[in-house]
Amino acid sequence: MATLQTPPGASEAGAGAGAAPGGRAPAAAGLPLAGGGSIGGARSLRRMGRAITANRKATVGTALLVLFILVALFPGLIAHDDPQAQIYPRGLTPNAQHWLGTTSFGQDIFAQVIYGTRPVLLIAFGVGLLATIVAMLIGVAAAYLGGAWDGTLSVFTDVLLVIPLFPLLIIIGSYLHGAGTSVMIAVIALTGWSYTARQLRAQALSLRNRDFLNAAKVRGERPLYVICVEIIPTMTSLLVAAFLTNALYAVLFSSSLQFIGLGDPNVTSWGTMLYWAQNNEAFQTGLPLWIIVPGLCIVLLGAGFALLNYAFDEIGNPALRPAKSIRARTTRAGAVAAPTPRRRPRVKRTG
């Protein structure tokens, strides 16, 4: 850890490097975890558990995520007030009954924060899964089918990658008039898969001439079998990283969209809380917690995803650690994933 301080998302950049023509394959990417997975579920789980407890970042990240998942599952056990009910005195400062005070509509802020966790987590996991699956289908298909298919799918991916995502989401959101949770998941996932697709295509390309794939072809396996059983398991750690990154962006993007009023204003979630708080001048009316607490929750949830991602990078890719590999990663560190502006990974296209 001391020798290799790269930001989260660096694994993506590292794997992307494999896309360079004649570039070295990111050989070890994913293999350690994938190996465990194919041997036996229990063993790989135990191995994962050990990895999580051994790495401090992973421990903190996991703890944060577990905490939020528990809150999202059982909000009623923690908060006893109805988050939407406008029944309390307005604009209360924190007190024994209302730990975080009340909004200027007379809602309990603590209850809103607690109940607001579920939609955010649903969007995070929904987008994480959906975007990663779409990216996997398109990326692996492009690499496996090759030729004109690869050309078309790659250009499609690249075009989507350079169109500014957040303005596009704003435009779509404005036509939709109040996107609820499921619409939000669909829109963010269907516009945001391209970066992952590129990484996965690069990884799949790097495998193309490996012996185990040739062996499978010689055995006469069907393409679907080769893709599902031979190719995809080697991408486990890349897929996990992609899931975490996509989930993180989903949290940030959906909260931002809700903040500017493009979400469903009747759903209680952190972003809509910020929207109502800002519209009612929470700072100027002495209710700073109405803005600070939901924002902090977004940061903590985001940190959970980011820390886990960072840790997986270190756990899953020990082979990327030696000095030689540091070079491969650091030279492409410009591809570090930052929320906005989105930077195109500086990876040469194989075309």
Binding site: Q5, G261, A333, G334, K348
Partner: protein, 328 residues
Amino acid sequence: MRYVLRRLGFFALTLWVALTLNFALPRLMPGNPALAILGKFRGGVSPQAVKVLEAQFGVGTHQNLVAQYFSYLGNVARLRFGSSLTTQPGASVGRIVFDAIPWTLGLVGLTTVLAFILGTGIGIVSAWWRGGRMDSLLPPVFVIMTVIPYFWIGLVLILIFGVKLKVLPYFFSYNFSLTPGFNAAFIGNVAEHAILPAFTLLITTIGVWILTMRNTMITTLAEDYVRMARAKGLPSHRIMLDYAARNAILPNLTGFAMSLGFVVGGAILIEEVFNYQGVGYLLLQAVNNEDYPLMQALFLLITVAVLVAILISDLATAILDPRTRAAG
């Protein structure tokens, strides 16, 4: 040459996709949103604006889709974006956008340049004293910075410096009591209003520059010519700047070219939070007012800016790094 041609082709293709998205999105959405607007504004809009609207959204016209598509493309090619419906009713979209651009360029553009210079400098220094205090502090800070929503940082800064300490203004780009003009009072006021949004933008964007520079620089420091320079006994600032930093800066430079494209649309939420009347603020105003012609023009502007910047950075890479040309 082939590389350049391919990049130009990609540019044209992406531009076409963005135009087509703009054309197709309102038609794909449940309940054509433009139907509602046109009904609402039939009286108040000039006939020419109605024609542009018809081409843009396909309402009230008997043309088929293909004909609509081509008349829309024609309008865009002649930079005819119609009139604003609600934000500044009747005013031409082109003029409204044009008024907003300088504010965004000033605020976001200058801050981007500043972030690049500062970030690159810090990156150089932190790579040079690798493992030092600054170097070990950076990565965790960066992890945290990437997960904070930009607008929330802006809000917290407003709370601290604007509402609590009351030392800095946080609304609009200048004080309404002043008449805009080229004088010291006005310029000073504009600068004062820019401090908080600029600072928000700076701390959210600087991390990428620091890390890119630091990581490339560490690679460069391991090169033989740096060891050679050390062996020759050159002063360390010369090794740091002339030998290592100079060779490590290419990724940051191309990244900088690209980030200039994001200047136009890159600070939407920050402009919104500070009510700073730039392009991003205008976009959200158009969205809130359902001013679709204005919204579409702004989306095109933001996209084109990004595409042009990417094209420039690709060409710059081709010029500065011969390996790219060979690979292309």
